[in-house]
């Protein structure tokens, strides 16, 4: 855990000076806060000695002060202290904000970059929603914890210590009362927190589960209504909610002891202070009647000091309370630290080689006895003994049922994953020898789960080529058969795509994604089931254009529909992670039972075979 905290703190960078300077102001602020009541008590003691307004400037002795001071000077000192305190409060607050927000901003950026550096294998480890939470809520928590650390964590114990010291300075032995009461409060708080936390952690889990079930209910409301299960769902929710409530009540009852405990200790300390102080004041007082004016002389303890003792007592105990609350909050934020640290510590499984190649000769691809598994400890290989040889410019189809390893095969080509054993060659060189960017610029993949980003169509297309001209984009759209519908849109290429591409149909999205990949003018173009929502006629047109317009590019197509790949130069049939057959449509129709079965089913299904 410590290493994770350290790692996170590294992100503070340019804000380090603020983080370091904040505690200094907090020290000044708390010091002043503690000295001020002391000065006040001296002021009260001296007031009584004054007889007329002229005495305002007169210098007095005070048993607690080594020097003489006038009331006027004392007020100036107090005002000065308050001004200093306000200044350090403002500066401290300012720098604390800069430091903590700065840390959070840097951390978000670091985390973002880290996630960007992840390989597919890394990405698979974390779910999307958990990564989003880490970058939002968790960082928010760390920001708060950090701000609290450099402000309150410094301030509260200091306030307690200063107050205790000042209590001794002001009240002498009477201050032992507080020292005696501290353990009572600490032990009390400890037990309250311990028991309450235990229940709370449990309840929070149930709370999450409850919310999860509400979520399910809302998204499945059609099912609920269609099966007339409203009452059933109500009862389910009522029971869950009510039993969760009784757990909450249990925990809250314990927490409810907090205030009385606090009150009790403060009250006891008040009574003791007042009682003992009364005793001392009574015992060690004398009266002087100089010049007809009565003054009381307190040798041990004055009434002014008694009043400041009361203030210090409350300050000490309040700050203990504060410390306990901080500890609870910091403990809770540890979970956020752990989750963020986990991402930061994750090593990208795929890195650039030390002396990378920056040129890809041609679009030829070779798999030499490739074995592959997603996890080292997986029970068996996802791909075993794959041997494929594709010449530059060929059109290759891959067919196979779900889980047969089609996507796994093509993922190895652009090094989205690394092989477990064997070799994948692109342009005659091992993919691991290439610079990653070079490799991926030359091997364009249209993923199965493809996404467009919010922005205009043109912006999306320019992902393929940053400085693409309108003509280039239109040409790519022509190839992908996207031109027609793009032209029909009122704003054409400048049409805005909503987040998740929700305002274009599935088939349109797929065609735009293909256009985006074509714009890269890659040596190898891979379509992973990328035309499933496109009608067969358009599908055919896309293939025709790919063949004619970019003849030198190697094209690999994964498809469910035989019609999409039947005219390929070679078709690879995968079954259960191994190559079952390779050949042309005619050959396979004769030799491969799997191919025959699929062909038969789809023929029955209809289509244009």
């Amino acid at each position: 855990m410590l290493d994770k905290i350290k790692l996170i703190l590294k992100s503070v960078r340019q804000y380090k000076k603020y983080a370091l300077i904040t505690p200094i102001f907090m020290v000044i602020e708390s010091l002043l806060e503690c000295v001020l009541p002391f000065a006040m008590s001296i002021f009260l003691d001296l007031c009584i000695k004054a007889v007329s307004f002229d005495d305002f400037m007169k210098l007095y002795d005070h048993p607690k002060l080594p020097f003489q001071i006038s009331l006027f000077a004392l007020i100036l000192v107090m005002v000065g202290m308050a001004v200093l305190s306000i200044a350090s409060g403002i500066l401290g607050g300012r720098y604390a904000a800069k430091a903590s927000v700065g840390l959070a901003t840097n951390l978000r950026s670091d985390l973002y970059k880290k996630i960007q550096s992840f390989s597919f294998a890394n990405i698979d480890k974390f779910s999307t929603s958990s990564l989003v939470t880490r970058m939002t809520t968790d960082i928010q928590n760390v920001q708060m914890a950090f701000q609290m650390s450099i402000r309150i964590v410094i301030r509260a114990p200091l306030m307690m210590i200063f107050s205790a010291v000042m209590a001794f300075v002001a009240g002498g032995q009477v201050a032992w009362i507080f020292i005696g009461l501290i353990p009572v409060l600490v032990i009390g708080l400890f037990f309250i927190i311990k028991y309450a936390m235990k229940i709370f952690l449990r309840v929070f889990k149930r709370y999450d589960a409850l919310n999860q079930s509400v979520q399910e209910n809302i998204s499945g409301i059609r099912v609920v209504k269609a099966y007339v299960r409203e009452d059933f769902e109500k009862e389910k929710f009522n029971n869950a909610s009510t039993s969760m409530m009784s757990d909450f009540v249990k925990a809250e009852k314990i927490v409810a002891l907090n205030t009385p405990l606090m009150n009790t200790t403060i009250h006891i300390s008040n009574i003791l202070v007042v009682g003992i102080a009364s005793f001392f004041i009574g015992k060690y007082s004398s009266i002087s009647k100089e010049g007809g004016v009565t003054t009381i002389i307190n040798d041990k303890l004055s009434i002014g000091q008694m009043s400041s003792l009361l203030t210090y007592g409350i300050q000490i105990l309040m700050n203990i309370m504060m410390i306990s609350m901080i500890m609870v909050m910091l403990t809770m934020s540890l979970e956020a630290v752990r989750r963020i640290g986990e991402v930061l510590q994750e090593e990208p499984t795929i890195k650039n080689p030390s002396n990378p190649l920056y040129d890809v000769n041609d679009g030829s691809i070779d798999f030499n006895d490739v074995n592959f598994r997603y996890k080292k400890d997986a029970q068996r290989d996802t791909l075993s003994h794959i041997d494929i040889h594709i010449k530059s410019g060929q059109f290759v189809g891959i067919l196979g049922s779900t889980g047969s390893g089609k996507t796994s095969v093509i993922n190895l080509i652009s090094r989205l994953y690394d092989v477990s054993s064997g070799q994948v060659l692109v342009g005659g060189k091992d993919v691991r020898a290439y610079d990653l960017k070079t490799l991926r610029d030359n091997v364009a993949v249209v993923l199965q789960k493809n996404v467009l980003f919010s922005g205009t169509i043109a912006e999306n297309l320019r992902w393929g080529k940053e400085d693409a001209t309108i003509e280039e984009m239109e040409k790519a759209c022509d190839i992908a058969q996207a031109s027609e519908f793009v032209h029909q849109l009122p704003q054409g290429l400048e049409t805005h795509i909503e987040q998740g591409g929700s305002n274009v149909s599935g088939g349109q999205k797929q065609r735009l994604c293909i256009a985006r990949a074509v714009l890269k003018s890659p040596k190898i173009l891979i379509l992973d089931d990328s035309t499933s929502a496109v009608d067969t006629k358009t599908d055919k047109l896309i293939r025709k254009h790919l063949r004619e317009d970019i003849p030198d590019t190697t094209k690999i197509v994964i498809a469910q529909r035989i019609s999409s790949i039947e005219d390929a130069d070679q078709i690879i049939i995968l079954d259960d992670g191994a190559i079952s057959a390779i050949g042309t449509h005619e050959q396979l129709l004769k030799t491969s039972p799997i191919y025959q079965e699929v062909y038969y089913t789809q023929n029955r299904v209809g289509g244009e075979q």
Binding site: L36, M40, A97, L131, N217, V274, G282, V451
Partner: protein, 664 residues
């Protein structure tokens, strides 16, 4: 589908606070009033510190003066007449008596504190539970339209964020409001009794705090709102880029994305720094205004003490001469200064609560909005009942599950008619629009005779799903009629109408629980054997039994531990166990591999046997053996007939069939 409204995160409606507090008091009147007393006593007990400090200071000074020096403060036999509270009162007391009184009040005060804290916790949790349940129960009864027109995330946040702000309000803000209110009233009264001059100084300080809170607080909340908006933007970007991370990698777009993100992130940093700075400095400034007030008050006390003719003014006794009266000075100033601290602390604390109150009201307002939504109306008076046939072909009503049903028609005159359920459905010149301005179905007429299979084909948005929404009355038609076995469906009780219709939806929504529970959802009283049977019909039995825990396998809500195809099979089994005489099947669009697809297909086919079925087809293979195929376009039926008829027509269906059009 109708357009989805995204809620605005605005302010609370007027009267929300009143409504919430009223609701609260209606539920727990006794407890709350008693709690209020406890809080009042608690406040009073805490104030006693300053009152007693003043009294004791007065008695002590008097003691010293009367005894001419040292004396035993704990001598219980000696009483002193001390002038206290700015010379307003004379008390006859001694130190031990005062300490005992103080201890007693403290004791009761602690008990009161314990009681109200505990009681408020119970009230809060019970109230929230009630509120949650009321909200949920109400939500369950809302029409589908509500769910279609509200973003699910927004509905969800009612249960998480908004309820939480109500908790904050009830458990913290409300008692705090009362506590500080009472403290302030007590404090002000006591301060005025002690000295009006000094109180004026305190008011001056309070005004300064008010200005500070208003100015800096306002600045802070402006940036806070900006920050929240920017958080939304940044979160959107994060979500999009993480979801599309694989695409980013494939296009080596990492650096560009990071650059874009940094820009948004830096803006967020800027706003949030400003919001945080303002938030951080409000408290120290207020606290130090308190310090200034403290010093000024003491100085004022000194002036009253020292300047001849400057008399202390109190509300109890009017002008009182305290000039050089040590006893009065000590008792007044000590108590007053403590009170001053307490007062300023309360004021600055309360300024923090304001944010929570505003947030709580906004949250409550949104929850009330849900409660104000109109429930789904059901004026049906035709009921569904199970029947048993006698040998002579006549039937009688029974409570057993018999697979045979009849419509039970209660007439106004009290007579009851029974009509066998056959599954004859007729749509007669139906018009419909999600909003009255925009019709999506125009003059649609369809007849499905018992046992027939009717298929809908057409592009996205043509109105296929809409038709099924009308048959089970998720939405009500604007014009025309829908008849079920000759009965207008508006007359049928909605729940019974829906029970008579089995549905397999496009999105396979499963619920957290075991597979068994999920299938049984179709008919809660189904036996284990019936569930197995249904699973077999749906072709789900094999894969379920192959799982380590079989039917007891626990699945989470999104069914993420099952494949898409397996989830579909379970939802088919769920419909099979419901065993409704009429089925509506909305095919899933998601691509599943050919083998599973075949299983799904077979399962559906078995399910359809012997029933009236409406199929929304995404694959033409499902359609071919239908009695009638409706080709929809822009809310109109443009072609109808059997597969062979339509192929012969060489129209739209033909083009779809030959793949010239996208179907999706």
């Amino acid at each position: 589908m109708p357009p989805v409204k995204i809620r605005e995160r605005g302010r609370a409606k007027k009267g929300t606070m009143k409504r919430l507090v009223k609701k609260l008091f209606q539920l727990y009147p006794g407890r709350l009033i008693f709690n209020a007393f406890c809080i009042a006593f608690n406040v009073f007990a805490n104030l006693c510190s300053s009152i007693f400090a003043g009294l004791i200071a007065g008695v002590l000074t008097k003691g010293v003066l009367e005894n001419g020096g040292a004396f035993n403060a704990f001598d219980i036999t000696r009483f002193y007449d001390a002038q206290v509270m700015g010379n307003s009162f004379t008390i006859h007391a001694n130190i031990p008596i005062l300490l005992i009184a103080m201890g007693t009040i403290y004791g009761v005060g602690v008990f009161a504190a314990w009681w109200w804290n505990r009681s408020m916790a119970i009230v809060t949790q019970n109230f929230l539970n009630q509120f949650r349940i009321t909200m949920y129960n109400h939500m369950e009864d809302l029409p589908i339209k509500y769910f279609d027109t509200h973003a699910h995330g927004d509905i969800m946040s009612l249960y998480t964020n908004d309820i939480d702000t109500i908790r904050q309000f009830v458990s913290q803000s409300l008692p705090e409001f009362l506590r500080t209110g009472l403290s302030v009233i007590f404090c002000v009264t006591l301060m005025l009794i002690n000295s009006i001059w000094m109180t004026l100084v305190v008011f001056l300080g309070t005004f300064a705090m008010f200005l500070n809170t208003k100015y800096i607080g306002g600045y802070s909340s402006r940036y806070f709102i900006k920050q929240q908006k920017q958080v939304g933007v940044v979160e959107g970007n994060i979500e999009e880029s993480i979801k599309g991370l694989k695409v980013i990698k494939v296009f080596s777009h990492e650096e560009k994305s990071s650059e874009d993100f940094d820009k948004l992130n830096d803006t967020l940093g800027e706003y949030s720094t400003q919001a945080n700075i303002a938030g951080n400095i409000t408290m120290p400034i207020n606290g130090n205004i308190g310090n200034f007030t403290y010093i000024l008050t003491a100085f004022m006390g000194f002036l009253i003490f020292i300047i001849p003719g400057f008399n202390n003014l109190t509300i109890a006794k009017g002008l009182v001469d305290m000039n050089l009266n040590i006893e009065a000075f000590n008792s007044t100033i000590v108590g007053f200064l403590m009170m001053n601290r307490m007062f300023t602390n309360n004021v600055s604390q309360f300024s923090q609560q304001i944010t929570f109150i505003v947030m709580g009201m906004a949250g409550a307002s949104r929850c009330f909005d849900l409660l104000e939504e109109k429930k789904e109306e059901d004026n049906g008076y035709v009921y569904l009942c199970n029947i048993k046939y006698k040998d002579d072909g006549t039937f009688y009503e029974t409570n057993d599950h018999t697979r045979y049903f009849a419509w039970k028609h209660k007439h106004h005159d009290g007579t009851i008619d029974y009509k066998e359920l056959k599954g004859d459905i007729l749509l007669d010149h139906v018009d419909f629009g999600y909003n009255p301005e925009k019709m999506v179905l125009h003059d649609v007429s369809i007849y499905a005779h018992p046992g027939q299979k009717i298929a809908f084909v057409g592009a996205t948005g043509a109105g296929k799903t809409t038709i099924t929404n009308l048959i089970n009355r998720f939405y009500d038609i604007a014009d025309g009629k829908i008849r079920y076995d000759g009965i207008n469906i508006n007359k049928i009780k909605k729940s019974d109408l829906r029970k008579s219709l089995g549905i397999v939806l496009q999105d396979t929504n499963l619920f957290t629980g075991t597979i068994m529970e999920n299938i049984r959802y179709g008919r809660l009283e189904a036996s284990d054997e019936e569930v197995y049977e249904a699973a077999k019909i749906a072709n789900a039995y094999d894969f379920i039994t192959r799982m380590p825990d079989g039917f007891n396998t626990h699945i989470s809500g999104d069914g993420s531990n099952l494949s898409q195809g397996q989830r579909q099979l379970i939802s088919i089994a769920r419909a099979a166990v419901a065993d409704a005489p009429v089925m509506i099947l909305d095919e899933a669009t998601s691509s599943i591999d050919t083998r599973t697809e075949k299983l799904v297909q077979d399962g559906m086919d078995k399910l359809m046997k012997g029933r009236t079925v409406f199929v929304i087809a995404h694959r033409l293979s499902t359609v071919q053996n239908s009695e009638a195929i409706m080709v929809l376009d822009h809310g109109k039926i443009i072609e109808r007939g059997s597969h062979d008829d339509l192929i012969k027509q060489r129209g739209t269906y033909y083009q779809l069939y030959t793949g010239a059009f996208e179907l999706e």
